[in-house]
Symmetry: C2
Subunit: 179 residues, 2 copies
């Protein structure tokens, strides 16, 4: 709902009650909860998570889990049209400014993580490694999103590339830990 985003931007998420959003949309509080299971989902629901799942699924099975996910993510991202990106940015700014929303956004990510890693596992990947890889990539994505939303003159794919670049680094080989 556009009403909700407007209100969140003006007054902040915590200062906007569900009753406020419902009133702005000309309905009652109950009606709101029939459309959205929770207050945060009115902000967080979008079609891009599903697109990411599909993009990863359509990548060749031969790719390592980490890189298959990375490549799928890049594909999915480049398919989002400009107006969508602009909305994501406004949304992400609200999320960045609201601690409780940050963890709600992570709950969203978990659903995506489940779906993507299920796919990798069905294709023969090791369950733990697949999950870890997807979780790591999504964590980097979130970091990139938050960074990008806070800066003015950076585009999303540039921020994402920088965040993902940490996976390309060679370890500085040394005997290191006690475990």
């Amino acid at each position: 709902m556009m009403h909700a985003l407007d209100l969140f931007e003006r007054r902040g998420y915590e200062q906007t009650s569900v009753a406020d959003i419902a009133a702005a949309a000309g309905v009652t509080e109950m009606t709101f909860f029939r459309h959205f299971p929770t207050k945060d989902r009115v902000l967080l629901d979008d079609p891009y998570d599903a697109a990411l799942v599909e993009a990863v699924a359509s990548r060749p099975q031969a790719e390592q889990p980490l890189f298959r996910t990375v490549n799928g993510l890049r594909e999915a991202l480049s398919a989002i049209p400009e107006p969508g990106i602009a909305l994501v940015r406004r949304r992400t700014r609200v999320v960045a400014a609201t601690p409780s929303l940050r963890s709600a956004a992570w709950r969203n990510n978990q659903r995506t993580e489940d779906a993507v890693s299920e796919q990798l596992i069905a294709d023969g990947g090791d369950p733990l490694e697949a999950r870890a890889a997807v979780a790591a990539v999504l964590a980097a994505l979130t970091t990139a999103l938050l960074w990008w939303a806070g800066e003015e003159d950076i585009d999303l794919s540039a921020a994402l590339n920088r965040a993902l670049s940490v996976f390309d680094r060679e370890p500085d080989r040394e005997q290191s830990h006690a475990g």
Copy 2:
């Protein structure tokens, strides 16, 4: 509080009200909230996050963000005594069984992520990359914890090693995305 963990294990987290926990401890609901800011923190608060921050800080600056975090994590983990590990396991099982707690656990991780990446940045790391690296490692840690808590005959460091192994893989070099 031990009372809380017991109740969560028996009845489940959502089915246990703060009033229940307070009653089990022989105090009033208000008193509970004077000790813990939220219901989830009674389960999630522990000293290990701070230990991780210190362990990473004490690693040589020369290490790449990703590997410095990984090595610090391994050190911090090997310093936890057995009884602590057993508690973590019980706790993690409750978290694994409770969706809302999973995102609460992530809010915990965010505080750790902030502290660790602040350290890396203070030591001259690139802010975006440092954050992404720490976020990725913590995501892998969470995945390992959840996996380990659900299996019977695996120890934590083995699960963690498997989860972290995804960072060691070489990318399958190919021209891949449209981004």
